[in-house]
């Protein structure tokens, strides 16, 4: 590494990807890996067609269909005409422009942020973008990954670059040991509840500390995934042996000698001693309890044993109005407890928590048990590979015996875009990332929680402290 000012890992990667830095212009940032899906890409391809230009480097873009796909009977044509049209448009665009597509039925198909890492397309040191805010997931490997809009998707397709201003940097350090029944989803929900849904806007976050180091790659991805929920441009974790072991042997990862060489290179990807951040926050893992959200943004979260704040506990008048509106939408009383509240749906899935470890975690708790009669439970694997692995391990049998429905991969009930929706007024405890009004379907009500807490609620039929079950 160069001598001089100590740099953060973020600065090292950013600086090595700037193609052009001109006075008065944002940086032209080179993009190593570009993922696309059916929802945010059609208008970008149209732009290329209008200009009559090809994709700059087809090898650097990978496509899959995830947002709009049904999670049942994926071998049949998509019933809903507009969804079908969007997936067909993706198919046609990928064919016309020469881009690899992992379409419905393909063994590699799945949620875009699940398949990138599992295929070894996501590697340390890269710049990665996708027309999807949860692109921050990939940052768990020690790369710069962030969501972009469709105009920027077009920029990347046309030039392999995006124009970006360098964001500020924030380090979030979590030290200490997590208690029993507390997992990485609780860590990130805890951080967001502390700093609010806009607390990291304008920043790129690096997560550090021994509590982060102790996590598996999949658990780290859950944390980076939700960086955007506190407004951050992205979140990243410097790579280590856990990272390298995860990557080794993956389909598109470097193999043999090339892998060993890359590992040497990747080992330099860490923040230098004394590197300066624009902001540093520290948390103690021992303070974290199982988390749940009660409102309509991910910052409105609390420990499952806590009570919802009262209106008077909020300082600002504007905040109070939004708070009241939010609780009104949720059908909840200020100052009340959620513990014991009956739920109608349990959704285990999404780019936040639909990897094999998440499914294993759920299976561990529900093994030999049966869901409560008042709940409907959907388990939606993040990819075809996760689905296959779950079946290989017999998790499907455990879910079946518990009365859970194991579906086919897709974004499913995370965003109310496909057939999987939570009905109006119903409560869903969900392992996804957003509890916005109507997110899981018009007038649906979402409680965000960890896969463990969701599994516990599935068994008891109500909001439960998972520590009573593990």
């Amino acid at each position: 590494m160069s001598v001089g000012k100590p740099k953060t890992i973020f600065e090292k990667i950013w600086d090595s990807h700037v193609v052009k830095q001109a006075d008065g212009y944002p940086d032209a940032l080179f993009i190593d890996r570009h993922f696309i899906h059916e929802v945010t890409s059609p208008q970008a391809f149209d732009g290329l067609k209008t200009r009559g230009i090809p994709v700059f480097n087809t090898q650097r873009t990978t496509a899959t269909a995830d947002h709009n796909v049904p999670t049942r009977d994926q071998h049949l044509p998509i019933k809903e005409a507009l969804s079908r049209h969007q997936v067909e448009t993706l198919r046609k665009n990928c064919k016309d422009f020469g881009i690899e597509l992992y379409d419905l039925g393909h063994p590699f198909q799945g949620i875009v942020h699940i398949i990138g890492p599992e295929l070894g397309l996501t590697l340390p040191g890269m710049t990665i973008v996708c027309g999807d805010s949860h692109t921050s997931t990939h940052g768990a490997f020690g790369n710069i990954a962030f969501g972009i809009g469709t105009s920027e998707v077009e920029q990347v397709l046309a030039t392999q670059c995006v124009l970006q201003y360098k964001p500020m940097t924030m380090k979030i350090e979590i030290n200490g040991t997590l208690g029993k029944g507390i997992v990485s989803k609780d860590i990130i929900l805890y951080i967001i509840s502390k700093i609010s849904s806009s607390g990291a806007t304008g920043y790129f976050v690096e997560y550090a500390g021994d509590a982060i180091r102790s996590l598996s790659m999949e658990a780290r991805m859950t944390i980076c995934n939700m960086s955007i929920e506190m407004g951050a441009r992205g979140g990243m974790i410097a790579p280590d042996e856990v990272t390298f072991n995860y990557i080794k042997g993956r389909k598109f990862a470097p193999a043999g000698k090339a892998f060993d060489l890359k590992v040497q290179e990747w080992k330099a990807l860490k923040s230098d001693e004394g590197a300066a951040y624009d902001k540093v926050l520290k948390f103690d893992a021992a303070d974290i309890r199982p988390m749940i959200t009660y409102g309509t943004n991910p910052g409105m979260g609390m420990a499952v044993t806590d009570r919802i704040p009262t209106v008077e506990e909020l300082k600002e008048i504007n905040e109070q109005a939004s708070f009241k509106k939010s609780l009104d939408y949720m059908g909840l009383e200020p100052g009340s407890q959620l513990l014991g509240k009956s739920v109608d749906y349990v959704f285990i899935g999404s780019c936040t928590n639909a990897r094999i470890e998440d499914l294993r975690m759920v299976a561990d708790i529900v093994k030999g048990k049966r869901k409560a009669a008042n709940v409907e439970v959907w388990v939606v694997p993040g990819s075809r590979q996760v689905e296959e692995q779950a079946k290989k391990e017999g998790l499907d049998k455990i879910f079946e015996a518990a009365g859970f429905e194991l579906r086919s991969p897709g974004c499913s009930a995370c965003l109310g875009m496909n057939e999987d929706k939570v009905p109006a007024g119903k409560y869903c405890i969900s392992t996804s990332n957003r509890n916005f009004e109507g997110r899981q379907g018009p007038k649906s009500r979402t409680f965000l929680a960890s896969p463990l807490s969701a599994a516990a609620a599935a068994i008891t039929g109500k909001v439960t402290d998972v520590r009573d079950l593990v």
Binding site: H17, H85, I148, E152, L261
Partner: protein
Amino acid sequence: MKEKFTTLVSTAVPLPGENIDTDQIIPARFLKATTREGFGDNLFRDWRFDQGGSPVKSFVLNDPVYSGKILVGGKNFGCGSSREHAAWALYDYGFRVVVSSFFADIFKNNALNNGLLPLVVSDSFLKKLFELITKDPSVKLTVDLQAQTLSVTGIKEHFDINLYKKTCLINGYDDIDYLLSLRTEIKSFDNTHSQLQVAE
């Protein structure tokens, strides 16, 4: 080439809630179109219409008292998803400026890339704006992009915007025009860089 933006004088629509996320601006189930047009019909869909599809009278876009090309929104406007459809929907509906005291990053970029000006004012100025507009819905706001000012009935605030984005808006330029002019440099970067990245 986008529509050029210089000065705008218009009445405004107040929407004071905080954390107005992109799922409210345009719910995911309306993101199925493959073109950029028509999203305005479903702007704020679930606040604007009830489940039967009838307009919700109390929602500000259905209130005939308020109209105009400027939307004044609460703090942390546009948080959530990266869907550019949110910017398209606001633009398609007829808005050219969104005023707030704080915008989410991706929304801000998306707006700027579509000729929709995200205009940041102080919390106190925003509060005054809400008061003035509610008191007199016919009050006109003047946005002068060149001078970077927002003024209304004797009060004025300067707003920040970076010079590059300002130039793009005033001239109707796209980022992509600039990037395309760098194609040769990018190609050579890609060639050398890929040798570093993929050590075969």
